[in-house]
Symmetry: none
Subunit: 196 residues, 4 copies
DNA sequence: CATGAATGAGGGTTCATTCAT
DNA sequence: CATGAATGAACCCTCATTCAT
C-alpha cells in the first residue's frame, strides 16, 4: 500500500540519519528532508522522535530474538550454531549497515537507550545468548568449569568488538571476509589463543 | 590550591551527572547544582560543555595509554600482562565507577563521541592493544595463524562486555570477583572454551 | 436529506467537544472522531473551524433575538414576560446544555469571541434586553429613577450568574427547580432583597 | 531589587497582552517584546505560560478573598458592606483594568480556566459571597424567604454584568460614575426594580 | 574568583487546512 | 460525497553561553 511504502521511506531515511548523526543530534527535519516528505508527515506516521526510534529498535530486537531462539532450538552441531550467530550479525551489517550501526552506537551501550525498558531488551538478548552457551555446556562441547555468563561475555564481546570496528570504520564486508572473521573468532573462542 | 580544588569538585560532579544522564541529557545547570557551585563558575573553569567532557575523557585516555604502554614494555610473563590489563579496567571501575561507566556508555561506542578526533583516540587504544597481542605472538605465547586484530577483538571485546554488564547493572565488584573474572576471561581466551 | 443529516451530526459533535474542551482546545480531529466521520468531511461542510463555531453561535443568537423580540412585542403582563425570558434560558439549558454552556463559557465573556463582530452580536442582545426594560418603565411597572441599563445589568446578570453555576457544576434542572429559580430571581428583582 | 522589578515588568506586560489577545492567542514572544526583555528571560522567571498566568490569577484571588473576608468580619452597616464590595471591583478596574478584564474574560467564565483547580477558586469566592448574604439575612436586613444562593446570584451577577459591559467597551470610570453605579445596583438589589 | 540574570537560536510538536483519490 | 494522507507555519520550551556586577 501507499501507506506502508511511505512508512518504509521514512524509516529508511531515519536509519540513515540516525546512523550519521546519532539520535540526539538528529533533527526531525533532517529525516523529513532525507525522506523527501514534508515535516508533518513524519509525525503523521510516528507520533514522536522516540516512537520512530523505538520502531526501528523493536524491529531489530525481534529479528535478534527470533534468530537466537531458532538457534537455541536447533539440532545442529554446536560449532555450526556459533557460526550461524556470528554470520547473522555480519549479514545484517551487510544488508542493513545503518541498522547495525545504530544498534552498536545507540543501543547496545548508549545511555540514551538505557531506560529500564531499554535495559530489559538488552538483558533479554543476553539471557538468550546465555541459554545457548548453557546448551553448549550440556552437550559437553563447552567447558563447565567456567561460569556460563563468562562464556557469554567473551563470545558476545568478540562479536560486538568486531562489529564496532567495522561500523566505526564504515568498512565493507565481502563474503570472504565475513567467513574468515567467523572462523577466526570461533577458533579462538573454542580452542584458545594460545600456541599449541 | 583553591583553584584546583574547585576544578576537581566540578569534574567530580560532572562525572556523576554524565554517568546518570548521559552527555546529551546533562545540563550545565545540573553539574553546577551537583557541584554546589554557581552556574557561571562552571564556565569560569571550562569554556564549554564539550571542553568539560573532553577534560574527563582525555584524563581517561591518558591513564589507558600509559597503562598499555607500560604493559607493552613490560618484561613480565605474558599471562601476567593480560591479567594486569583486565585488572586495570576492573580496578578503575572500583575506584571510579562513574568514569568507567562514561567510557562504556558515552565513549567506547556512542556516536556522540565519534567525531574524527574521538575516533582517533579510540583507534589509538586499539592499536596499543594490538601491539600487545603482537608481542604475545612474537613470544610464541599466542597463535600466529590468527590475524592479530582478531585476537584483539576477542580480548578487548570480552573486557568490554563484562564491564558493560557490570556498569549497566550498577554492580559492586569485590576483589574476589575481580580475580575470578580475570582468571575466567584469560583462561577462555588462552585455552579456549572447548571441553578438553 | 443526507446532507442536512451529516451537517447536524457534525454540529452536534462539535457542540459536545466545544463544550468539553473550549474552542481553543478543540481539534478538528476531535470533532470528526466524535461525529464518527472522516477528517476531511468536516471541511466539506464547514470551511474552517471558525465557520463551524460561528454556525453554532449564529443559530444561538437567532433564537435569542427571536425570543427577545417576541417578548418585546408581547402584550402580556410584564412579570410574565420576565418569567418567559428566564425560562427560555433555563429551558434551553435543559434541551441543549452544550449550547448553553458554550454560550456561557465561550461567548458571553470569553475574549476569544470578542472580535468586533462578536461584540456587536453581544451588544445587540443587550440592546434588546434594554428595550424590554424600557417597556417595563413605560408601563410604570419598573422604576424610572434608575437608568435603564442598570436594570438590564441586574436582570441579565442574575440570569447569567445562575446559569454559570448550573453550567459549571454540570447540574440537572428539574421543572420544579426552574420555576423556583425564576420566581426567586423575579421576586428579588422586582421587590428587592430587603426585609419588609 | 532588580529581580522583583523585572518580574513586575514581565507581569505588567503579560497583563496587557493577555487582556488584548486572551490567554490562548497570547504568544510568549509577545509578552517578552512588550516587556522589552529577551524571550528567555520570561522563562527565567516563570517556568511556563500557564505558571505566568496562574501567578496573575492567584494574586487576583488573594485580594478578592481578603476583601470578602474583611467585609464578612466587618461590623459596618450592611448596606455599607455591599457598597464596599461593589466599589472594590470598580476601583480595581480603575487601577488595574487589565487584571479586571482578564478576570472577566479569561477566568470568571472561560472554560480555559475551568480545570478542577480553577473551579475551586471560583467556588470559593462564591462561598464567601454567600456568607455575606447569609449575614445580611441573619441581621434581618435581607429577606429570608429567598434562598441565600439566589441572593448571591443576583448581587454577584449584577456586578459581573456591569463590569463586563465596562470591560468589553473599554470604558473609563469616573469616581462619579462608580458611585452612581454602586448606588443604583444596591438600590435595585435591596428595594427592587418595581415602581412603588 | 564568583554569581546568577540575561540572551536567543534551535528543535520537537501541534494542528488547521489542502488535495489527490 | 467521502476519505485520510500530506503540508508547513506557528509556537512553546530548552539550554548552552555570555555578561554585568
Amino acid at each position: 500500500m501507499a501507506k506502508d511504502e511511505k512508512q518504509k521511506i521514512i524509516i529508511d531515511a531515519s536509519l540513515e540519519v540516525f546512523r550519521e548523526k546519532g539520535f540526539a543530534n538528529t533533527r526531525m527535519a533532517d529525516i523529513a528532508n532525507r525522506a523527501g516528505v514534508s515535516y508533518g508527515l513524519v509525525y503523521h506516521y510516528f507520533s514522536s522522535k522516540e516512537v520512530l526510534f523505538d520502531a526501528i529498535v523493536e524491529s531489530w530486537w525481534k529479528v535478534v530474538y527470533d534468530m537466537l531462539e531458532l538457534n537455541s532450538a536447533s539440532e545442529s552441531d554446536f560449532e555450526k550454531i556459533l557460526n550461524n550467530i556470528i554470520l547473522f550479525f555480519l549479514d545484517t551489517y551487510d544488508t542493513n549497515p545503518n541498522l547495525m550501526a545504530i544498534f552498536i552506537t545507540e543501543v547496545s551501550r548508549s545511555s540514551v537507550y538505557h531506560t529500564p525498558r531499554g535495559l530489559s531488551k538488552f538483558r533479554n538478548m543476553f539471557v538468550l545468548f546465555e541459554e545457548i552457551m548453557s546448551i553448549g555446556q550440556k552437550k559437553k562441547v563447552l567447558r563447565s568449569d567456567i561460569a556460563t555468563h563468562y562464556l557469554t561475555y567473551i563470545f558476545l564481546g568478540a562479536i560486538e568488538a568486531f562489529l564496532s570496528v567495522v561500523v566505526l570504520g564504515n568498512e565493507k564486508l565481502t563474503q570472504d571476509r565475513k567467513n574468515r572473521a567467523a572462523t577466526s573468532i570461533i577458533s579462538v573462542f573454542l580452542n584458545g589463543a594460545k600456541c599449541s
